[in-house]
């Protein structure tokens, strides 16, 4: 399928989702749905580097928080100036995306030349350091946190949460389209060579460092964009919750449970796990929900390394392939005998 056609289908699905959510008529649907959509973006972004290139990023929270705190910084800046008080969400997304894209590029430039493990460890440490910076930076609230006042109503759309939901929905469509576009392009094949055998790729003339940097930057940018509207969603932004390890574990677990090699994997994983989490958080508790994510992650990487997509794939392909394979072996044997 061509990308424009795919995009149109995505937009139709998105419109249907939005229409259904409006049809339900309860604003809680938007609050819960926003979180799931946010994870669609985060896990798709993670998968561009993790699934396609095979480099594990533990710093999802850091990139996400970069986007969120860019918004807070802009909010504070505008609150004292003469400008109109509400910046459109897409502009905030762009700014947040640029900031975390630059940080992603810088991190990658320093650590991607070494073995993959170093990059992973550096991203893990990045979250701790950025949290330290934010805690010590009073302008964006420091350790006390920052209030961001959500505008009340909007013309046409109505409640502000619907507007945020719609923006996140569009960002999710964009992220999935980008992921799919990369998957079937020269870039995607380059990424796959890095994942399968980096040394061989390097020897065959694949510019591995440049490709890895591109992947890190795209991935970081998308994560920052997902974080930018978050202060408006949550209303009160605090370092502890913004840098929580939950973001990292979710954005890793979702693609690995769904399947890492295609754009559909993170989407399926997020829809399943994200919805399940919303239900468990409401009915049991949020700690139990995190325990469940951890257990599912460990279970899936051990038992089903290719995730749900991989399971479906093997199930669909197993029987005819085995059959054809066996017959061909038989035919070859017969041929060599005669």
């Amino acid at each position: 399928m061509r990308t424009p056609a795919f995009l149109v289908i995505c937009l139709i699905v998105a419109a249907a989702v939005f229409a259904t959510a409006v049809g339900v008529g309860n604003d809680y649907v938007f609050f819960a749905g926003y979180v799931v959509l946010q994870y669609v973006v985060l896990s798709t972004a993670w998968n561009i580097l993790g699934g396609y290139c095979g480099y594990v990023n533990f710093g999802t929270a850091a990139f996400f928080a970069l986007g969120a705190y860019s918004t807070v910084a802009i909010y504070k800046l505008i609150a004292v100036s003469e400008l109109p008080h509400v910046v459109p969400i897409p502009v905030l997304m762009l700014i947040g995306g640029v900031v975390s894209g630059i940080v992603g590029f810088g991190m990658g430039y320093l650590t991607l030349r070494l073995r993959g493990a170093f990059f992973s460890i550096a991203t893990l440490a990045l979250a701790v350091v950025l949290e330290t910076l934010v805690v010590n930076w009073d302008y964006v609230g420091g350790s006390r946190g920052a209030y961001v006042i959500r505008p009340e109503e909007l013309p046409l759309i109505g409640n502000y949460i619907r507007y945020l939901f719609l923006m996140m929905l569009l960002l999710a469509v964009a992220a999935i389209t980008i992921a799919r576009l990369i998957e079937h392009s020269r870039l995607g094949y380059g990424f796959a060579t890095i994942r399968d055998d980096e040394l061989a790729a390097e020897a065959s003339g694949v510019p591995t460092l440049r490709l890895k940097l591109i992947a890190t930057t795209i991935s970081g940018t998308l994560m920052g964009m997902a974080g930018a509207p978050f202060p408006y969603y949550i209303g009160f932004l605090q370092p502890d919750s913004t840098f929580a390890l939950d973001y990292a574990v979710n954005s890793i677990a979702m693609p690995l449970i769904g399947g890492t090699t295609s754009w559909a994997g993170p989407l399926i994983g997020t829809l399943l796990l994200g919805t399940l989490q919303q239900i468990i958080t409401v009915t049991i508790s949020s700690a139990v929900n995190l325990l469940l994510v951890g257990c599912l992650l460990v279970l899936f990487v051990i038992v089903a390394p290719n995730g749900i997509v991989g399971l479906v794939h093997t199930y669909l392909q197993r029987k005819p392939e085995d059959f054809v394979g066996r017959r061909r072996v038989g035919a070859d044997a017969a041929g060599s005998l005669s």
Binding site: V56, T111, V128, V135, I252, A287
Partner: protein, 291 residues
């Protein structure tokens, strides 16, 4: 001026003492990551587990935390050996350790932490021991025993580890498995068994390090996270797998963190280890005493 000189000396001394403790925390990672090439990012979680074991026994029977941790070493060793067996069968054998192996350990880190939160809550826990209160004074230098004792015991632990690694058959086999598995196999040694033993030892050190941690500071389940950046920074800076390097790097980091905390405020201290890590990776990835 006298005052600031005192502050300076005390910052150095407390940095070196805390560095000795950091060395114990890192020794397990040096073994697993530096020698065996297993990126066990869940190591701090096992240390917290060690802290809680020491806490439970101390709170219910009043036993000394360090002695308790020595007694439970076999249990931690068995845990480590079991984890390595799962890791080997599921990832190393299939050649998937880079992506899924990392995710596996991350999942373990998370499961341990959340289980502890669910069971014990997020209250800070602490232990009682005779050496926790008093402080020795040498002139103007203060040496709190609660940091001095873990530091000394951890130096003993590392010396013992270094002796095992360089003097015994198993130790030499562990060093050999890092260099050439095939050659080791030709010597009729099973590399998987050696790695299992080594990983068991690595997790066993977490038992001791956990006891040290809860002696030095009150512990709650997410404290371990601060140590992830620290242990890997020390491990890389020290030169992967070199225990003497680990001690030097740990003390260096301890001193710099102590200076940062004294002169800029403790809220900046977590950033130091990351600075160290990035600087090392950018300038000298082989570390101080790297091979």
């Amino acid at each position: 001026m006298i005052f600031s000189f005192n502050l300076f000396i005390n910052a150095i001394v407390s940095g070196i003492l805390i560095g000795g403790f950091y060395a114990a925390v890192t020794s397990g990672v040096s073994l697993a990551f530096g020698i065996l090439d297993i990126v066990n990012i869940a190591h701090p979680a096992f240390i917290i587990l060690g802290s809680y074991v020491a806490y439970i026994v101390n709170a219910s029977f009043g036993f000394d935390p360090i002695l308790t941790s020595i007694v439970v070493i076999p249990a931690f060793y068995a845990l480590g050996a079991a984890i390595y067996q799962i890791y080997y069968v599921s990832f190393e054998k299939r050649g998937q350790e880079s992506l899924r192996g990392l995710a596996f350990f991350f999942g373990l880190l998370f499961i341990t932490e959340v289980s502890l939160v669910l069971y014990f809550g997020v209250d800070y826990r602490y232990v009682d021991a005779p050496y926790i209160g008093p402080t020795w004074h040498f002139g103007n230098i203060d040496m709190p025993l609660r940091i001095l004792v873990p530091c000394l015991v951890s130096l003993v632990l590392i010396a013992a580890l270094e002796l095992v690694l360089t003097r015994t058959f198993i130790g030499r086999a562990i060093m050999a498995v890092a260099q050439d598995q095939q050659a080791l196999r030709l010597m009729a040694v099973d590399p998987v068994r050696i790695k299992r033993i080594a990983f068991g030892i690595s997790i066993a050190t977490a038992s001791l390090a956990g006891a040290f941690l809860i002696i030095i500071q009150p512990v709650e389940p997410s404290v371990g996270r601060e140590y992830i950046g620290r242990v890997f920074a020390i491990c890389v800076l020290g030169g992967m797998g070199s225990l003497p390097g680990t001690v030097i790097a740990a003390m260096l980091l301890g001193v710099v963190e102590s200076f940062t905390a004294t002169f800029y405020g403790p809220s900046w201290a977590p950033a130091v280890s990351f600075g160290f890590l990035l600087l090392t990776l950018a300038v000298r990835p082989a570390g101080l005493l790297g091979r």
